[in-house]
Subunit: 470 residues, 2 copies
């Protein structure tokens, strides 16, 4: 029986290229869903099953509860104190696995790419096991179908046997249009998908040779790591001394034992709205309540229930409507959303980085309306979820339970509040909200007061051990 | 002292060309605002002041409370039982004025056009009084600044003196682009603005001669009219026998005593989004929370508080975001919104005809969120406003007052509910909500139940004398 493969899923990144769907506080791997399944979840699903060991997710502190919820206890979670690109994260993951399963095969994968044929991809992975077992680092190369200038390319030995990994000649950074055309025509080039299969030994050895400082700091970060609930937090001190560098640049481009396993199936990095449009089948791609009249080459995504998106005569446009922001741009300029996010940041607009829906370990909250001295929110608490025991200096709250059952503590009193019942939390009162039931609890919260900021909160107890301000 | 002018303001129309801002239930003259003032209001303001008599508004039953509120008792309101275009409405208005001020000067004006320099326009009106007093019907002709194919044109005598009305040679229906170019170049043509100054005698005489049936039915409709609160409802029977016809077609194009008073100032019929863009100064025209990066020739209107509209690289586009619909189209295709509205109607989407904000005589309501068995609304009751005494078979309601004070009757009990207080209306309970205060009352209503349609209402009393289903 073949050895198990240990998936290492990198999910700490947070880009703005899919804004307004993806935000710093709620990035693409969690925000982009298809049929209710996020990219992160479908990555976990793809890397789960026969022949696969328990996955290891490496993420940022602010995403830990999302990762935990979406993995539902089926994996380990390593927390990077700060984002440092892929090299430090992979070094720490290799050392973590080495401790627990010396010499294990690790499959390092981003969590924000799309691979339609997961089973076909896993076949390519399995076909690469002998090479990895032989000490090579296998990277997966996607067969290109267009002269894409946004990706890195890999030049491979065209004479190699078709079934197995090929010798890598060199890495090509994002090419010019001309160079990309030439590479596409030649057939000897593949796209670099940033997915690697290798033994922990091979990875650690490569770091030892080409990035020994990173490996050394990662070792300390892991030695001094701290358990926090189900998470393992890498130590801040050594992490702060890490360079911000990709594994390609720090290690892989220099490694002599790198080989490329071709993968012929569909793959997308969903790196901008143009890529999302393409992965949706090109043509007129719609999602949500959309009416598209005589449109072509356009992506229309309506993510606000009850807000119909109507496009007339659109050609090669992208329109994305979220509760707190609508983006409209020619598809060819979709990558400029970065500039828009910067402009919003300069304006002080919360939409630049924060999502309309505020995800918390207990569930989520969403603002429905705001007035001078009031605010209305929808709050959804998952089964077993509990908000911290808290109080507010400047606001009172009315809660009306509309779905499920709440256990509410106010002062020393605890009571159950069921559907169609309401409860009042006076200003200053210590209170806690929990969902003791088996189905989600939805309540409408009406806040009234002179100051309604999220920071008017005093926490007394918290089952999620959150830090102040979190 | 010159005789007073009686303004007749036509405000019963309801087009879809400015959808999604303008809806059948809330048309352009009320929906399009600048600085909080609607087109209807600014028409009333323009036609109010020295030399002007009390205005007469002619509108549809469904808009009567909007008109009453926006005129605030400063005018009379005549209600057309059904929309029949302008000829029947003008005939009824002429007879109405003739009864009350025989031989009065009447100024007939649409309520959905924009005239930036109201004072300048009124000067042109005053300069036309001698001609009207002499028995002529004066129509106002706008000096064209482009070869517009969407308007009707007037050919006038180019040799006439510049200061007064000119002889009309003929009406030209919406011309071809070529014809429009030729007319613009010639200088002898003006746009037909559909505004008329004449004595009631002259108007009645013209109808007598060219549309005697309309005049006869209008006479009966007025004789059998019924007072309803502050409104005068024209009788349905004779109105149903009216043809659906414009005053131009029925009367004015045939009248021999028609003269044209030129008006050189800016005017727009705001007939589609392209016209709104133009009247906004062309270039990049924005309204509301908009971030426009490198845009040109585009209209970006964001009408949802908290939903930022971001446009990147837009050229000659129109984007209009409302709470329940977003429209995106090239400006040149803005007139195709009609087809979009038809498509939505075919889908059964409420957005086709109904506005997100539901205006009622007592104020307005707006849906904030909807779930399986609940619905959240914001309800604003104006000072003195009162909802009907009512009950529901399928829902209970929680009301939380967030601004102002409510007087609430539940069964036989009446109580005051002030800011930050809540009240519960059990399923089946007879109840009434009033605003007894001097400032608007805002409350958040949370409905729970198995059926949440507006038609689950039994009315027992209504100070607005509304009919069932209204």
């Amino acid at each position: 029986m073949a050895r198990k493969i240990h998936p290492v899923i990198l999910c700490g990144g947070s880009g703005t290229r899919l804004w307004p769907l993806s935000r710093k506080s709620f990035p693409k791997q969690f925000a982009l869903t298809r049929g209710g399944v996020s990219l992160f979840q479908s990555t976990v699903q793809r890397l789960t099953g026969a022949g696969m060991a328990r996955p290891l997710a490496v993420t940022a502190s602010e995403f830990r509860f999302m990762v935990a919820e979406q993995m539902r206890g089926t994996g380990d979670i390593l927390i990077e104190p700060e984002g440092r690109n892929t090299a430090p994260a992979i070094a720490a993951a290799a050392l973590y696995l080495e401790e627990r399963a010396s010499g294990a095969l690790m499959l390092i994968a981003p969590s924000d790419h799309e691979i339609a044929d997961g089973e076909g991809f896993m076949e390519a992975v399995r076909a690469a096991i002998p090479a990895a077992d032989a000490g090579q680092i296998v990277t997966f190369g996607i067969k290109p179908d267009r002269a894409e200038t946004g990706y890195g390319w890999l030049e491979v030995d065209p004479l190699a046997a078709d079934a197995g990994p090929r010798t890598l000649r060199c890495f090509i950074e994002k090419p010019t249009a001309e160079a990309a055309e030439a590479m596409l025509a030649s057939g000897g080039y593949l796209w670099n998908a940033g997915i690697f299969l290798a033994t922990t030994d091979a990875v650690i050895e490569a770091f030892e040779r080409y990035a020994p400082d990173i490996l050394a700091q990662a070792r300390v970060a892991l030695q001094d790591a701290r358990h926090d609930l189900e998470f393992l937090r890498l130590a801040k001190g050594p992490w702060a001394r890490m360079p911000d560098i990709s594994v390609d640049y720090a290690v892989m481009e220099k490694a002599e034992n790198l080989v490329v396993m071709p993968y012929r199936g569909a793959w997308s990095d969903l790196g901008n709205w143009d890529a999302v449009w393409r992965s949706g089948g090109a043509g007129t791609v719609t999602e949500g309540p959309v009416t598209a009249l005589d449109c072509a080459g356009s992506l229309l995504r309506a993510e606000v229930p009850g807000q119909e998106l109507v496009g007339i005569g659109l050609e090669d446009m992208v329109v994305v409507a979220m509760p707190d922001a609508v983006l409209v741009a020619p598809r060819a300029r979709a990558q400029e959303v970065k500039a828009a996010v910067e402009a919003l940041k300069a304006k002080g607009a919360a939409q630049a980085e924060e999502a309309a829906r505020d995800y918390r370990p207990w569930g989520w909250g969403e603002r429905l309306a705001t007035g001078g001295r009031f605010q209305v929110k929808r709050i959804v608490v998952k089964p077993g979820g509990a908000l911290s025991l808290q109080s507010h200096h400047h606001r009172a709250e009315h809660w009306i339970v509309v779905e499920g059952t709440a256990r509410v503590q106010i002062g020393d009193q605890v009571k159950l509040v069921s559907e169609n019942e309401s409860v009042y939390i006076p200003l200053g009162a210590m209170h806690r909200l929990e969902n003791p039931g088996k189905m989600p609890l939805t309540l409408i919260e009406v806040q009234t007061g002179s100051y309604l900021g999220e920071d008017d909160i005093t926490r007394y107890e918290d089952i999620y051990a959150r830090e102040p301000g979190e």
